[in-house]
Symmetry: C2
């Protein structure tokens, strides 16, 4: 029974991710650890708690708790308890953590074979699929801050209307767990 296009796309996505994950072992981290580290490298300060990483990657808080603890032991993360809510914890990347998150693999080179226009197009299509996938069972999008309905541009920086907090220019390019596409 030959596969239809839809199934082929799913198979390609899974195989590419699997091959990319296999590279990961070159460092002293496994795929789950790299995935968590890369998320934390791109998330803003409101979105770096264990429950956020767990939701982003489709796993449980318990599992993510272990993964994050092991990254702390290896020196790639530090944990910081919140002042306001003493239950919550935020993880920050250390200098080696940032270096590792910026590491690039063979897959990036392979994506580079496509011309810029095609990359742009591909990126949009995959985003559409992700949005549909998340909508199917109420997942959050974790989109970029400045594309959010709560984002307000001010003179110099920006402002979050949901959290009533000022934002630095850098923060507006990061991922946020509260993001709602405008």
């Amino acid at each position: 029974m030959p596969m239809n296009t839809t199934e082929q796309i799913r198979a390609l996505i899974n195989r590419l991710a699997r091959l990319d994950a296999a590279e990961t072992w070159e460092a002293d981290l496994n795929p789950a650890q790299i995935a968590a580290l890369e998320y934390l490298a791109r998330a803003n300060r409101f979105s770096r708690a264990p429950s956020h990483v767990a939701e982003f990657l489709g796993t449980t808080r318990g599992t993510m708790s272990q993964t994050l603890k092991s990254l702390v032991r290896k020196g790639y993360l530090t944990e910081r308890r919140s002042e306001n809510d003493r239950r919550s914890i935020t993880y920050d990347l250390t200098v080696p953590g940032v270096a590792l998150a910026d590491r690039r693999g063979v897959l990036l080179g392979a994506i580079g074979v496509l011309p810029d226009r095609e990359q742009q197009h591909l990126c949009e299509r995959l985003s559409q699929i992700l949005t549909a996938r998340l909508a199917a069972n109420g997942g959050r999008a974790f989109g970029i801050c400045k594309t959010c309905a709560h984002h307000r541009a001010t003179g110099d920086g920006a402002y979050c209307a949901l959290l009533s907090l000022p934002l630095t220019p850098e923060e507006t390019t990061q991922l946020c767990h509260e993001q709602v596409t405008a």
Copy 2:
């Protein structure tokens, strides 16, 4: 530091695969087991040995050996020693195995939001990336039999010029570890 398009594509591929994998646990199989089962469901009779599955999924023979044994224990596969080469083993799907490989998840539905033309386009782009990725470190393509340089169409069925063996029509639509794009 904002991500460029290339990095975004990689991140999207990994996140989609991860979310798809999370669904997998609804059955009594984990992502690695499902991936192996789905490969075996699509591979031809020359490409269903542990070393083939391992190469396809970018893992080692040792690890794959364990995964396949556990699928046998669960009743989704049967193993069969080769007549010609007594070292080699071929795995076949049982009836429950076929049923499980055909199971469809939320991701397929999400891919379905794209119109057919876009799916076709997306499929080609991802294939290009995969080809480039494999070329980067000498991996095999595991392409479809009838697109192979060794494929010869005959009157009724077909013929493999590499293995000097006749092929059924069905076999020419399956994956082959020897495939070389014509």
